[in-house]
Subunit: 346 residues, 2 copies
């Protein structure tokens, strides 16, 4: 059905029936000038927004509208998770090309709803406008955290251990498959589809973060949106420390290993520099790190790996192999000669 | 300066220096995964967002970047005002064409900052992405209101009087000037510039709404974004009532009267159907209406006019002239034959 047949009010009415729009804390939802919300007593409010633009962040022929809706909300929920918060409310602004079919937006909202329901997020507002030059999806998510309980990037201390959830690089591997297509004109193999799903349907680690902060003192946390190298740099930079990552401990899936080998690229590159994993990287005092990793695995089934340690700032960022050799890690590559920070060779 | 020379981090750093990013309630502002905010005890949270798309909501050659920043924030603050709330925090998502000059964004942020400072709004988050097909500005504003103090659209009662702030239609008149240009190749006259400013630099009526709710019982309120006819329809529809507006009492500026006469159009059309005035329309019990109007004028200097009364639902929406004649009012025109709701003739 054409959007012009529905009109703006018809469209809004149609879409709001597809997503949770009422629930705890929602005094007034969609339909007045603003939403009226109640947060839980003793909490602080978390707020984040992420904009996805057609042709920049997604290609409409490479992902389903369901996946677009899912991912647009997931990347925001992931930010709330990385503060150790619980997501509560979402507002969505949509810039819609007039030729778009109403069914496309239905499916986008179904993807949004699936992720929202999984995390108890309620859609409380938004804006629906015309955008002749392409689809734009901008979502704001509000969450909450016990007062003083937000885990910032800046709290890592020398001696802390570095943990990550899940496996890294799958999303970047999936993107590579999406852009290149499957090898030799065949369809995608199941393990390849797995990588592609990691890219298109990321799972924000809300429960993993909750399990971690219940089990021990998480000193810093970040979600991995720009690759492990970039996120560990954010944490060490904000915290005024350095870090050493143990190469062999960085969790990389067999599917990514296989794919990377076929492409003739190091799988580690995908994990370090690929991005969009939406896993968590956290730092924990050494006495509590094992307990935190165990709690994450036990309570959520998600793998948690100890992959490094926090060092004094002058040590910089290092990658250490099992044979004891070390190289320096930059945002997008590594230095073969430690100490030469300007060298960004591979 | 080209954005490519600045890079994303350089751009964000440059822009954040132009706007208020710290202040009361901001525990963590821009720079971590999310903002961490504290709201005032005993309040409820208000949340709203509005997206402006180049070519749809604005033309970059018809308004300055300062005005774009001002207006993008103002339309959101206006929604908070219409709930009788105080705006507190803003998040801005920007889709930026790569060819845009950094100075354009500087000025956009200066406009944002001017409006933010006038209302104590703090910028706490956002997203800055590339958008090759045009500039997109999406802003979310969070506000607060004493618990139970939000003024909804749905509370108008039969017998209440209808008030509006300011003068209506100036913004639509200004848009007409922007699209047509000044008459006869001359420059714009001062009063024409006034109309254009009403369109490009709307003043959200936060203080007026506060004065109103302090002075009396405001039963329903809305900001006039889509024209008085549309907003009064929202209020009466949500409240299950009808209304009669007194034509001669609808406040129309001399500048708009003059311009409308020159264009051969009724000035009233601009006031009823033009939109983007961002004035307030409110309903107040008759015993308190005069006091509310007086309080608005006294405390803020903004005109407040009694323009009609709330009727039972079966009376519908009526426009009454001083001579006692009545016509029916639709969203985009009026019916010459009251009772014939399907007739949308002018």
């Amino acid at each position: 059905m054409k959007l012009s047949e529905l009109g703006e009010f018809g469209l809004i009415e149609r879409l709001r029936q597809l997503v949770p729009t009422a629930g705890p804390g929602v005094i007034v939802g969609i339909g007045d000038d603003t939403a009226v919300l109640e947060t839980t007593g003793g909490t602080q409010l978390l707020a984040t927004c992420d904009m996805l633009v057609e042709g920049e962040h997604f290609l409409v022929d490479r992902l389903t509208p369901f996946q677009l809706g899912w991912k647009a909300l997931a990347v925001n929920v992931s930010d709330i998770a990385a503060m150790a918060g619980l997501p509560r409310f979402a507002l969505i602004s949509l810039g819609i090309p007039p030729h778009l079919e109403a069914e496309y937006l239905d499916d986008l909202y179904r993807g949004l709803a699936a992720l929202a329901q999984a995390h108890g997020v309620i859609l409380v507002g938004g804006d629906t406008v015309r955008s002749r030059r392409g689809l734009v999806v901008d979502i704001t998510v509000l969450g909450e955290v016990p007062k003083g309980g937000a885990v910032l990037r800046s709290g890592a201390r020398v001696g802390d251990l570095v943990l990550v959830t899940g496996q890294l690089g799958d999303s970047a591997g999936g993107l590579e498959f999406l852009l290149q297509g499957p090898a030799g004109g065949r369809g995608f193999l199941p393990q390849e589809v797995g990588l592609i799903k990691a890219h298109l349907e990321p799972r924000p680690r809300v429960r993993e973060a909750q399990a971690a902060v219940r089990a021990g003192r998480v000193t810093a946390m970040d979600d991995i949106s720009d690759g492990l190298a970039s996120e560990i740099r954010e944490i060490t930079g904000s915290s005024g420390v350095g870090a050493r990552l143990w190469v062999e401990r960085i969790p990389i899936s067999p599917a990514l290993q296989t794919a990377a080998r076929a492409w003739g690229k190091p799988a580690l590159d995908f994990a370090l520099f690929g991005g969009e994993d939406y896993e968590l990287v956290l730092t924990v005092p050494p006495t509590e790190a094992e307990a935190v990793a165990e709690a994450i695995q036990k309570e959520t089934g998600t793998r948690a790996s100890l992959i490094g340690e926090i060092l004094p700032a002058h040590e910089g960022l290092q990658l250490e192999s099992a044979d004891g050799s070390r190289v320096g890690l930059t945002r997008s590559g590594w230095d073969h000669f430690l100490g030469d920070r300007s060298n960004q060779g591979t």
